[in-house]
Symmetry: C2
Subunit: 486 residues, 2 copies
């Protein structure tokens, strides 16, 4: 992977200490108004942006959707066409103005991609130039941000025509993305059924990595706290990884939603994975719950989050993300293929992180979710960190041992699929987690592992987990040690 | 006119001193980045938002337009349809949160109306909640602003579905308006021809009135300066008038653009009447100039602007406006009818303020433009202030004297229309100004006045003006006195 040279203010005749992220007190998705406050404000207003009356169009029920989801869908006057659009804007969370522009654009488009829309007809750019910028800073930074935004739009196959630019105390960037679609070109995000699984297309921890990087730069008290568990290099790497993850389009993810029969999706941003899962589950037509078991996180971010107590809610699913992945409901039999296909096209890994159960429209993360460490490899692709040591391998005879980096997939026996209410097996269902790593799609149908209850020694609570690989078990132990350590 | 009760913070359990406008340092359209700076930033970027390559669609050339105009026009994949959209956001300039919401919505829609688009398919709301609001202020003010925005959208026949809400040091409000149209449903704003006249649908001075009101409230030094020429009541009245003018939709103005064959329009906002005239003239296909002779201003605002030296550029056409009127190019023979029709439908006056000449894409205001004082009458309609005294009537035998409030219209002799290059007459063209006041449309064709050179005694410069009514001449003298006085 060709690393992007770190933004050097002096190369642009700016003060060496110039940092874009200093021109705001809130960063990225963290500037969102808490969803409970927002919902209350909207409630007082009585209905704006809320789920509105269904509208009948061309034989299909199209609800108008608002805050719960990221894009609205408006039936048009013209033969079966719908207007789908979204807006998002926030404040710099990385110091590289060009990358910031890309991230802002990518983040807006993500809302369309979550609807399975792959072609955006137009973008508008929203820009707040910090009133505290020097004239020089303004003349350097603003064109770079605009260029990044524009380049990202081009990469997505769309263009930027129009926008608004104002002076604002904080630097602000965002946009509007709009598509006019036929009915078969978008996917309403409300068709999850019990038995679906949840896939996530980018790892979590973008906010944590940006904050940690800032603490490192400032050598702040918080840095002194986390430096016991992470090195400077690890933080720099995570920040760099994070920047590229945030600037990566969810376009392929959206395209594959169509071919793999997605039942709905959302993108993960300011409310964190759990917040967005909750928004998505509330929109479902069927009585379902979302249960999240796995949290793929940029490497070391879980450790930092644990170390920082309540600062981030990364493992609770409430840490804000910026330009995060799509959280997609897929039929169980499609999920593995979906992940394999996205890997084939993009090279990046996607993760099965949970399941859809019958329920009452709530989303939750299990008590001790499995953290999957993720990093960007030298070839630029984003992958789960492969286990690197075999020391301290637990004695665990029932775990199925596979070659490292081979497929590890658990399938529900056919009988279970057909009789989901079978009592004994259904208790095990919530712990059936599938993970696909570096696996050709052809292998998915054959590999069946045993379901194995495991007790984590270092955990206070006894918890059922699935172990596909003893080395992953060891990884889990390390996670548990973090928890005990701090 | 039923006056809106002044917003009373205490009625909402807020501190008596709560003022929405204190939660920003820049107000309304004044937050725009100066157009020269913006153009330079865009130039560095090379083309974004600039006039782009023409795109051929369905036998019609549709240029993509950007910053020069307020809405972009994007040809869609579907049979002759175009996506037309716009965004605008800014900071509070009035203290009534509900009215602020209406104004913000109205201001965004105005960009569509300028394209002759009368039906908006969807709006998004952009909201920045001031991080300095108390929780109470937030819970009172934000729903009121949202309600105002939503009510205005309903009045326009559209709905708000979606948006973004962030925390920001300054309170921020705005939106996005989008329409999908057939080719005959919008009017490209680039077809002005020499001989057209320029019509303005709302008076200028919104920014001046809001600032003056703030000075009055704060009893600031600036208030001490202007109180010599305006009373508190006059400032309160102007502020109130201004609020309703800004909250009035340009929808009728847009509808009538179609019936009266408009050659293009723009809406007047942050760059002032001259700034937007310049943007509009630069987009024209024909080699034309715009010459502005008349400046309809909210009563007393010209006097305040003159008193304040360079603070505002009201008479120079550079004073920022918020949610201003449409500036419309109309065929000369349509302009009078257009103004009469708008008055018939809405009750409000529109003004012919200038002409289109052959030229090189520049816009200017004549050296001593005529200021037309405008106020809202008791019936809620916005009108030129009728002359109230006849004292000091100048001896001006050549001026055509009409009954006050009767039609005063000058038509170009047919010969001139057909031979625009006729040298002697063409010199007179720039001074041919038409004004329609409280006139049935049927009268427009008959009334022809003489063109009369007049010398303003109090002016340093000799200037040719047209006098339709001696009382207006007196009014001009008063204006000139302001200028000498300060």
């Amino acid at each position: 992977m060709t690393l992007r040279t770190k933004f050097n203010p002096e190369a642009h005749e700016l003060d060496a200490k110039f940092r874009l992220t200093k021109y705001t007190a809130l960063h990225g998705g963290a500037c969102k108004v808490p969803s409970d406050v927002l919902n209350r404000l909207l409630e007082e207003l009585g209905g704006i942006d809320q789920f509105q009356d269904d509208q009948f169009l061309g034989g299909m029920i199209i609800p108008k959707m608002g805050i719960g989801l990221d894009s609205c869908v408006i039936p048009l006057r013209f033969g079966g066409l719908s207007l789908i659009q979204t807006t998002d804007f926030f404040y710099p969370l990385v110091d590289d103005p060009y990358m910031m522009g890309k991230i802002a654009c990518c983040n807006v488009l993500s809302d369309l991609y979550a609807m399975g829309v792959t072609e955006c007809d137009n973008m508008l750019m929203l820009l707040g130039i910090s009133s505290k910028f020097s004239e020089k800073a303004r003349d350097v930074v603003v064109p770079l941000m605009m260029r990044g935004f524009k380049d990202c739009a081009e990469e997505a196959g769309t263009t930027v025509n129009g926008g608004q630019t104002v002076l604002n105390p904080w630097c602000l960037i965002g946009g509007v993305a709009t598509a006019v679609c036929q009915l078969n070109e978008f996917i309403m995000p409300n068709n999850a059924v019990p038995g679906d699984v949840l896939v996530l297309t980018k790892p979590l921890g973008t906010q944590v990595s940006c904050n940690a990087h800032q603490w490192l730069e400032q050598k702040s008290d918080k840095w002194n706290r986390i430096k016991l568990i992470v090195t400077e290099e690890e933080v720099e790497k995570a920040y760099q990884d994070s920047m590229f993850i945030m600037a990566r389009l969810n376009k392929t993810a959206a395209q594959l939603m169509h071919t793999h029969n997605s039942h709905g999706a959302t993108d993960v941003t300011g409310f964190g994975i759990l917040g967005h899962a909750q928004n998505l589950v509330k929109q479902q037509k069927n009585a379902v719950n979302f249960i999240i078991h796995n949290l793929p996180c940029i490497a070391k971010m879980a450790a930092i989050a644990k170390c920082c107590g309540n600062t981030f809610g990364l493992l609770q699913g409430t840490s804000a993300e910026t330009s995060g992945g799509l959280l997609i409901c897929l039929p169980r039999e499609q999920a593995a293929k979906y992940c394999a296909e996205i890997k084939k096209v993009e090279g990046h890994q996607a993760w099965i992180i949970g399941i859809v159960e019958g329920g009452n429209q709530t989303a939750k993360i299990i008590d001790k979710p499995r953290v999957i460490e993720v990093e960007t490899l030298d070839d630029g692709t984003v992958q789960s960190v492969p286990p690197t040591t075999t020391s301290r391998r637990p004695n665990h005879p029932k775990a199925v041992v596979q070659e490292p980096q081979k497929v590890v997939l658990q399938q529900i026996p056919q009988a279970v699929q057909e009789q989901p209410d079978l009592p004994v097996v259904s208790q095990q269902l919530p712990t059936i987690i599938q993970q696909i790593e570096q696996t050709p799609a052809s292998m998915h149908q054959q590999t069946i592992c045993n379901i194995t209850p495991v007790t984590l020694q270092t955990s206070q609570q006894v918890q059922q987990v699935i172990v596909e690989d003893p080395q992953q078990y060891q990884h889990m132990q390390q996670q548990a040690q973090y928890q005990n350590h701090h």
